[in-house]
Amino acid sequence: MREGYVLGLIPETWRFELTRFPWVRRLLKSRWMPLALILFNVFLFTVILMAGFFGGLTSPGNYNFGIMIVWILWWVLLMTVLVPVLSRFWCTMCPLPFLGEWLQRLRLFSVRYERGRNPYFGLNKRWPRSLSNMWLMNILFLATTFASGFFTVRPAATFVLLAAIIALSVVLSLIYRARTFCLYVCPVSGFQGLYSNFALTEVRVKDPEICARHKQKGCVVGNERGYGCPWLLLPYAFRRNTYCGMCFECLKTCEYDNMAVNLRPPGVDLLVDEKRGLDEAYKALIMLGIAIVFFVTFQGPWGTLKDWANAATLSGYLTFIGLHASWNLLVLPAIFLLFVWGARRAARQSVPLKKVYVNFSYATVPLGLAAWIAFSLGIILPNGSYLLHVLSDPFAWGWNLFGTAHFPWTPVLTGLMPYLMILTLLIGLLFSIDIALKIARQTFAEPEAAVRGAFPILGFLGATTLGLLWLFVG
């Protein structure tokens, strides 16, 4: 494949600046953006929390607003559109840290700014250095999936999860600086960050030279138009989407209008050889592993597994947790290690094994994302019609707001579903192969060694794809 081209077709450097349109720029520079979106989601999540609270422990999930909106609509939108296309756009409008951030700033709309003074209310402590990475998010996300069998059938479980996240974000906002909760704790932040490296959208500097000459970095320290990057990035210098929460504060604070929102080819950030780490490698593998577990458990033909996950018996549930955790934390990473070891051996280069392991883990991101998209299709196409019901009767109080409370269950395109899933997975594989070949060239200096070293990784990607295809059509 041509060097510097995504899939040999689109130059990696290709960008289309969305903020070149004056109305887009005006919109993103307004302080109502993203506040208006957040306020809408605050309303939506208030309804979700009410539905979870009144839905209790026993009400079946299909007719619960909270469960349907969070686990059917939101999750599917997140995996199919928000992350792959719009990067961390969910973080832009996420209502969960809303209260915490309001307390920190003591303002909702305006900016509390005084040159040289910390604008935030609270203790503003630094998050412990040892936790300044994705490990905690890896563990918390994995732990959250232990209860996935409850979240989709028991409204109260969703209520407890969301309420706990909100409470934790408020507490952490008062103790720690800026978006510490979102950066290091939120269970769904880590994978959004990693997978956003594949996304078609980015916030970046337009002309680095303008920033180099600029004496006052308002994007970092804030000014009267906006806050310094709440995600602790240096907006004038960051090069990958991982930690950019797309809050658009830097578009507001930049005095030279030098920040842009761009469309770009998919996957280019996965090639940025900066700040790669074992925490992110594990995140990539855990996400792939959980997608496989979810397929097997919730969409596979093995009822026993589903009963285990739904905690029909305590011993079954503990078995599920044990298998789930060891598969994701030990077995899959160990299998990947074997292939990586093979890659290093085949390349015959003295590159540290850890570096090879970490580097190639980024090649699994497109495939992992594709597996999640395919899994999401298996959720939304059969179950999407329930959404019409819950919109009309959100609290199961017998309402019929839009006349759709008794809309019959109508699966959509389920005949096409396996083909769509296969297609999605093959596209994911294609991107993964492209990234793997490029990472091989980054990792092993000699071109021939890179080709040799890439083969075992392509083997891993191919075997994983075959396994997933077998799950879809088997």
Binding site: S132, L183, K215, L232, Y236, A237, F238
Partner: protein
């Protein structure tokens, strides 16, 4: 319309060089502000660097006064095309990973000075006018002294027991 540094007269070049030092001092002060809440040691280093840049500017100013008297010149660093000696802290995720040390701040300064020296040397090779060439060489030598300052500071930092803690 921006001009190239090589198209300027010697007094103009010197005036721009003074502005560059002043600009850098302000950039370092801003970096100090960025790091104030984060790592006081790094912030302090950037303040020291800002002071050093001001001192460089003061020395160049004295040189200007000695050679060209009080003749005014409106040019600033923003009027020239080239980006000379612009220090930039490029670790975009530094705060996220919380790993910035005093050494990195000093390296930012060292790199800027090195680039400036290389730029002046290159310009000296390119220009034909003897006076300008001489000035570029002189500026390159001055930048070499500045570079030595950062090299010395980095060595002190490495020798300090808490350098890598």
């Amino acid at each position: 319309m921006k001009r190239s540094l090589a198209e300027l007269s010697p007094p103009e070049v010197l005036k721009v060089a003074i502005w560059i030092e002043e600009r850098n001092a302000r950039i370092y002060e801003n970096y100090a502000e960025m790091f104030e809440w984060y790592e006081p040691d790094v912030a302090r280093t950037f303040r020291e660097m800002a002071r050093e840049e001001r001192e460089h500017g003061r020395r160049l100013n004295a040189m200007y006064a000695e050679r060209y008297g009080e003749a005014t010149c409106d040019l600033t660093d923003e009027d020239i095309r080239e980006l000379v000696e612009a220090p930039i802290f490029e670790d975009g995720e530094a705060f996220v990973y919380d790993r910035v040390r005093r050494r990195q701040a000093l390296e930012v300064g060292l790199l800027a000075e090195r680039r400036a020296r290389a730029f002046y040397m290159e310009s000296a090779e390119r220009v034909e006018e003897a006076a300008l060439r001489a000035l570029f060489r002189e500026l390159a030598e001055i930048e070499a002294e500045h570079e030595a300052f950062f090299v010395r500071k980095l060595a002190e930092d490495r020798a300090a027991p808490s350098a890598e803690s």
